[in-house]
Amino acid sequence: MATVTFVEHDGTVHQVDHDEDGSLMEIATNHAVPGIEGDCGGEAACGTCHVIVTDEWAGTVGPRTGREQQMLEMSPECEANSRLACQVAVSSAMDGLKVRLPEFQM
């Protein structure tokens, strides 16, 4: 069992306990976290699963890939730690992971 915390733009906190291996997008949508849509089913093709990784987790989560970069750049809310949640594989080593959500998805 591991925990991920999603913080909405208005500060609302969603703490999700999960024991699945999968992408951060899948964990969010499986637990109905509002504000993460995943329209393309996880192919870095729609940009609707944008999250901003908190500084303390950025190193563990790692940088975005080329295609992610292309999609994220189109969002006015893109920040240095922005990732597409569907491209973040969550492992048990990430217990306690915390990400913020942008105000709007693409």
Binding site: G38, D39, E43, R67, M74, E103, F104, M106
Partner: protein, 465 residues
């Protein structure tokens, strides 16, 4: 196209590029028009004209000759079986001969997504329709990165969710006005009275276009996107040039008017204000074909699409009364119903790409320079992706996975606006009407690109008070 013709066309394009910055755009449009007229008179080019004949059943046509570019395929309801056969038997299909030249058709969901995601191999340039347009206005929907990205970023703020929040109440008021003015005692044309009217109001708001002249917007859009050469439509070339010339003149004037108002300290959240405040494109007026391209893109992009999803939603709910009951019992399903409508309708049937290199794809060998058409209309009905894909199910769990907005860097910029527009429409419909009955059959647009309705007669029943 014969070679002289090709040379003339290339000369026309080079000339267009050269004069872009020096000659007023109306004159450029006129020059291109004269050139085309001269070519026609000399017998060097002919206007394509399509006349409708019954389309044979998919099963009766040899696979290699299956032509999904026929502009009557949607109207005659043959598209389901044609695309199903392609998905099953030739998901990456080559048609050697069509009125639009040879082209590849990609018809399965996953393959379409893969092509859309690979702009390095599959280029959106020089245009995204199957045929060719009389004049090459430059739009970022038909540009590859990095040029595409710069232009898109400069204008996307106008339809960004933050801006939409500002516009929502204005759009809602305008929708309410339209619905409140509808006759309830006799049938009327939903396309004209509602879909077209609301779209024109929405676009006028977005562009801060003179409100009384808003009907010009759908008129221009139809004329520009509907030439036979481009999409198998019914606009003749003279009409096309008149429309694009008018549009250019109007928007040049609007640009200068807005600039003057800006000087006086007026602010706004419309497209032109946004362009004028962007460092990257505030001088766009000096690149008239690009200026024209960006405006045309928003006008055409926001027009047929939203209009036909509005009409489509009424038709789909008329044909599926159980779904309407479900919606009335649970209005929180509206957003998912909106996505399902956009999937079911697929207002734009495809986007076209051109292979930039030889490539093996889906077991086929696609050569550099070949046209590749991504048939979203087929991907949205792919049994491999959607259960019972032809059914209209407002609470379909994966309705949002539809590909009507495309994927990748060109993913529709107006998607949130389109969804908002439809959501507001249905919130206001449910507040007023018990049902909207479609009388007879709607008439369908002649096009291989726009999947939509010319007219749809309806009778509305007000809610019992």
């Amino acid at each position: 196209m014969n070679t002289t013709d090709g040379v003339l066309d290339r000369a026309k394009m080079t000339a267009q590029r050269k004069v872009q910055s020096t000659i007023p755009v109306q004159q450029q449009v006129r020059a291109a028009h004269l050139m085309d007229r001269a070519k026609r008179r000399l017998g060097m080019s002919e206007q394509l004209v399509f006349s409708e004949t019954p389309i044979p059943d998919a099963a009766d046509v040899p696979l290699t000759e299956l032509d999904v570019s026929n502009p009557f395929l949607f109207r005659q309801g043959k598209w389901h079986s044609y695309f199903r056969r392609l998905r099953d038997e030739a998901p990456v299909h080559y048609l050697a001969d069509s009125p639009f030249g040879p082209f590849w058709s990609i018809t399965r969901y996953e393959d379409i997504r893969a092509v859309d995601l690979d702009p390095d191999v599959f280029s959106a340039e020089p245009r995204i329709i199957l045929g060719h347009a009389p004049i090459n206005v430059e739009m970022f929907i038909a540009m590859d990165p990095p040029k595409h990205d710069v232009q898109r970023k400069a204008v996307q703020g106008v339809v960004a969710p933050r801006n939409l929040k500002e516009m929502e109440s204005l759009i809602r008021e305008r929708v309410q006005e339209v619905l409140d003015g509808l006759p309830t005692d006799r049938p009327f044309d939903w396309v004209e009275r509602v879909s077209k009217e609301i779209t024109a109001r929405m676009l006028a708001t977005l562009l801060d276009f003179p409100y009384e002249e808003r009907h010009k917007l759908p008129y221009w859009s139809d004329a520009i996107s509907g030439t036979a050469e481009a999409t198998g439509g019914t606009t003749d070339q003279d009409l096309f040039y008149t429309a694009i010339g008018d549009l250019a003149r109007s928007f040049m004037a609007l640009w200068h008017d807005k600039a003057a108002r800006r000087e006086r300290g007026e602010t706004g959240f419309d497209l032109i204000t946004l362009m004028q405040s962007s460092e990257d494109i505030k001088d766009l007026i000096h690149r008239p074909l690009e200026f024209l391209g960006n405006l045309t893109l928003l006008i055409v992009g926001g027009n047929d699409t939203t209009r036909n999803s509005m009409s489509g939603s009424v038709l789909a709910l008329h044909q599926n009364p159980d779904q309407l009951e479900k919606l009335k019992a649970n209005p929180s399903l509206i957003p998912n119903m909106v996505s399902e409508t956009i999937r079911w309708q697929t207002p734009l049937a495809y986007m076209r790409r051109v292979a930039k290199q030889d490539v093996h794809f889906g077991g086929q060998f696609i050569r550099k320079g070949d046209k590749v058409v991504m048939w979203y209309a087929s991907g949205n009905r792919d049994e491999r992706q959607f259960e019972d894909p032809d059914a209209f199910v407002i609470d379909r769990p994966n309705a949002r996975n539809h590909m009507s907005f495309g994927f990748g860097v060109h993913r529709c910029m107006g998607n949130r606006l389109a969804e908002m527009q439809l959501r507001i429409l249905w919130e206001e419909i449910l507040a007023r009407f018990d049902r909207i009955e479609v009388i007879g059959e709607p008439t369908y647009v002649q096009s291989n690109f726009v999947k939509g309705y010319e007219s749809m007669t309806v009778q509305v029943t007000p809610k019992a008070q």
